[in-house]
């Protein structure tokens, strides 16, 4: 059976983030296109705790067979959480995770296999090396049970629930969050040289004259009010 040591710290950090987001009113969106029963299990775990007296947390499953990105785009609010259980080769999940920054959500990607998502693919990557699908499935159950258990441990530390991540707002020309890197945003609509984009979940107007005309849904890098890529 897979050993936990490699991911124990990742799970601790993810649980701290989940508790902070929930404490600020987050909804947790769960998706697993290949194993929808896992996504359902995560959601029911958080909504209806097995331990009487633990608070019910807002968790919901992306419907089976639904377009993951379209469902999340329409529904997520800034500060929400997206949890995916998926292999590296799940394009819908990779795409949703990539949009997390634009949507202003915390992303958690749980998966297994020798191939793993590239660094930075999600805010939290909890990855097992095993290529055995049944062993991976058993490990997933443990991982989301533990995420739930640890999230509730964090709730017992109220002083640590302040969500620093949401305090950083990127709205100045000299950007403290992105420095010179630019922010990843998602195009909502385009009108000539201007476009409405979603940046950290909030819509803003930007200038797109420096790049090829983008289409709604495209991801563009924005710096100082200009789309640069």
């Amino acid at each position: 059976m897979t050993e936990i040591a490699a991911v124990a710290e990742d799970m601790g950090r993810a649980s701290l983030a989940l508790a902070r987001r929930f404490n600020s009113g987050a909804t947790m969106w769960c998706t697993s296109p290949a194993w929808p029963f896992h996504a359902s299990h995560v959601a029911v775990e958080f909504v209806h705790p097995v331990i009487v007296g633990k608070r019910a947390l807002a968790a919901v499953t992306v419907p089976i067979g639904a377009d993951v990105v379209a469902t999340l785009r329409a529904n997520v609010r800034p500060g929400d959480i997206v949890v995916a259980l998926a292999g590296c080769d799940e394009p819908q999940v990779a795409d949703a995770m990539r949009r997390g920054e634009a949507w202003g959500v915390e992303t958690v990607w749980i998966g297994a296999g020798a191939q793993r998502p590239t660094s930075g693919s999600a805010d939290h990557v909890i990855w097992l090396d095993t290529d055995d699908p049944l062993e991976a499935s058993e490990c997933f159950v443990r991982i989301y049970h533990l995420l739930w258990e640890l999230t509730h441990v964090v709730f017992e530390h109220p002083g640590l629930l302040k969500d620093d991540a949401q305090a950083a707002v990127c709205n100045e020309e000299v950007c403290i969050t992105c420095s010179d890197e630019g922010r990843l945003t998602e195009v909502v609509s385009v009108e000539g040289d201007e476009a409405v984009v979603r940046a950290l979940g909030v819509e803003e107007l930007i200038d797109v004259s420096l790049i090829d005309p983008p289409r709604p849904g495209d991801l563009v890098l924005v710096h100082a009010g200009f789309a640069i890529r």
Binding site: I4, S15, F37, H38, H41, R142, E149, E156, L160
Partner: protein
């Protein structure tokens, strides 16, 4: 393994600001619980191995004779039923076997729950679908779910092979004669029970696959139906 619990005691004041200590405790707690789960898996699979082999042989006979498997459960156990149906119908290896989760059709579940009662949401589907020679697999961590007991009674009456996965001490499922085979994971923790049940489910499936090496008596590919 001794479980360290001191970190569970909350700070009385809300003035804790350094998350570093908590992160160390969370990682350590994860490792400890993981070890408990691994230990329970090993102990449980060793204890129930003969039972799983017996059940698998009976299931393989029924599958070979054209039997179908119906799975059910509530909450997290409902997702176990879904997972079992997916494993049997779309296995990572081996042959696909006819299996359905009775919790998957929301129209049926809500119709039955609303019109007949929640205790009959599975039994009514068994009445509609199941025949002698089929199989019923129910998951419950407590072993006490009323709608499972009603479903098992109906399934038994109709000649289905009845298999239960229960936790704690087996509960009602552990002693009800309508559950011909009750696989019990002996733990007080609902989470650890579900984790070991997942392992037992996988081992049972692998034993069924191993026993399914001869041609079945029913054609796997049915002749195409004529369009009218």
């Amino acid at each position: 393994m001794k479980e360290t619990t001191d970190f569970l005691y909350p700070f009385i004041e809300g003035d804790e600001t350094d998350a570093g200590t908590l992160l160390v405790d969370l990682a350590r707690s994860a490792e400890e619980k993981w070890a408990v789960s691994t230990e329970l898996r090993v102990v449980t699979l060793a204890r129930i191995d003969e039972q799983l082999r017996t059940i698998a042989a009976l299931m393989a006979e029924r599958f070979a004779a054209g039997g179908r498997l119906f799975a059910f459960g509530n909450g997290g156990s409902a997702t176990d039923a879904d997972g079992l149906a997916q494993l049997y119908t779309r296995p990572p290896s081996g042959r696909p076997l006819p299996s359905r989760s009775l919790v998957e059709d929301r129209a049926v579940i809500t119709a039955l729950g609303n019109d007949v009662g929640y205790d009959k949401i599975f039994s009514r589907q068994i009445i509609a679908h199941a025949k002698a020679g089929d199989m019923a697999v129910g998951y419950s961590t407590s072993g006490n779910s009323e709608n499972l007991m009603v479903a098992f009674a109906e399934a038994r009456k109709r000649g289905l092979l009845t298999i239960g996965f229960a936790g704690i001490d087996g509960g009602r499922m552990g002693v009800d004669p309508n559950v011909a085979h009750c696989v019990i994971v002996r733990s007080q923790s609902v989470h650890r029970v579900q984790e070991a049940q997942a392992s037992a489910t996988h081992v049972l499936w692998s034993y069924v696959q191993a026993a399914m090496t001869t041609p079945t008596q029913t054609p796997v590919t049915r002749p195409p139906t004529e369009h009218t």
